[in-house]
């Protein structure tokens, strides 16, 4: 079983990540998720519908956190074995749409670490806020991982 996670990581802030949203990346994401709505893969169509450019699908922001050399650094920080954690929960609150051409900055911190079932299941909560190039919040997210 996993050792007890170090609670002193609660509140740890990670360096902001900057992500340039490109048409190519949205198209690839749309293809991989089987999008059938051309708003998410046909720029001309999106523009005809009144959008400035290609629209990013609702879960697209998940890509931002992986846009770094070592996206699983926190796994080692917390002494978790790769392969021994699962995604338990994901929440998004949306404020503005994300489009190709946007530059998104993600601020992320460990919001909580807690356990259930007498410590058999341990949870890590990440809180993220995503800003666009106009310093407006586009979305907030809460991701909970469970260590098994």
């Amino acid at each position: 079983m996993q050792n007890k996670l170090d609670r002193s990581f609660i509140g740890k802030k990670y360096n902001p990540l900057i992500f340039k949203v490109t048409e190519e990346r949205i198209k690839l994401f749309s293809k991989a998720t089987g999008q059938t709505d051309p708003l998410y893969y046909d720029t001309d169509f999106a523009k005809r519908k009144g959008h400035p450019s290609l629209l990013a699908p609702p879960t697209f922001l998940t890509t931002v956190a992986y846009e770094q050399e070592d996206p699983y650094k926190y796994v080692r920080d917390l002494n978790i074995d790769m392969g021994k954690f699962l995604h338990a929960n994901q929440e998004y609150s949306y404020f503005l749409s994300v489009y190709a051409g946007d530059t998104i900055t993600m601020h992320q911190e460990i919001g909580d670490i807690f356990d259930k079932k007498d410590g058999q299941l341990q949870f890590i909560v990440f809180k993220s806020t995503y800003y666009n190039q106009n310093e407006k919040i586009v979305a907030k997210a809460k991701s909970t991982l469970v260590v098994i």
């Binding site: 890509t63 790769m82 392969g83 995604h87 929440e91 949306y94």
Partner: protein
């Protein structure tokens, strides 16, 4: 479209979405598109070493199917929030059924909002994800 979110009532089912069985190349493509290269999704040996019988689909890939169902039914920018709880793992070769139901219609700060309960199940009825979304009604 038969169902219209603007006139929807509590109890309405939103148009469902069926997902074909996932294969390994689907997961490899999603790993590339999302940047999530955790090998439990793409490498059978690694998945087995981690105590799993097979590779499992990225939870966020399954969530994206629910997102597709939502944006097929309501305008993207009307979605206020979208959350899921991952209840069971999705393995290769499992077809999925996404569905949703309006559970509340209310007024928040002079804006009408519907709340939708979301579910992804496999073909034997095992729940993979349960979720919720609030959607603004602009009249």
């Amino acid at each position: 479209m038969l169902w219209n979110y603007k006139t929807s009532k509590v109890g309405d089912e939103i148009p469902s979405l069926k997902i074909d069985p996932l294969n390994l190349s689907d997961l490899i493509l999603y790993a590339k598109a999302s940047g999530d290269h955790n090998q439990i999704h793409t490498d059978l040996d690694f998945a087995k070493k981690s105590g799993l019988p097979n590779v499992i689909a990225h939870g966020m890939l399954v969530m994206s199917f629910l997102g597709r169902m939502l944006t097929n039914a309501v305008p993207h920018s009307n979605i206020v929030n979208f959350s899921v709880q991952f209840s069971n793992m999705t393995y290769l070769d499992q077809a999925l059924q996404c569905s949703g139901k309006v559970i509340e219609r209310s007024c928040v700060d002079d804006k009408e909002v519907i709340s939708v309960k979301l579910i992804v199940k496999d073909m034997v009825g095992q729940k993979k994800l349960i979720g919720q979304s609030s959607i603004n009604i602009d009249i």
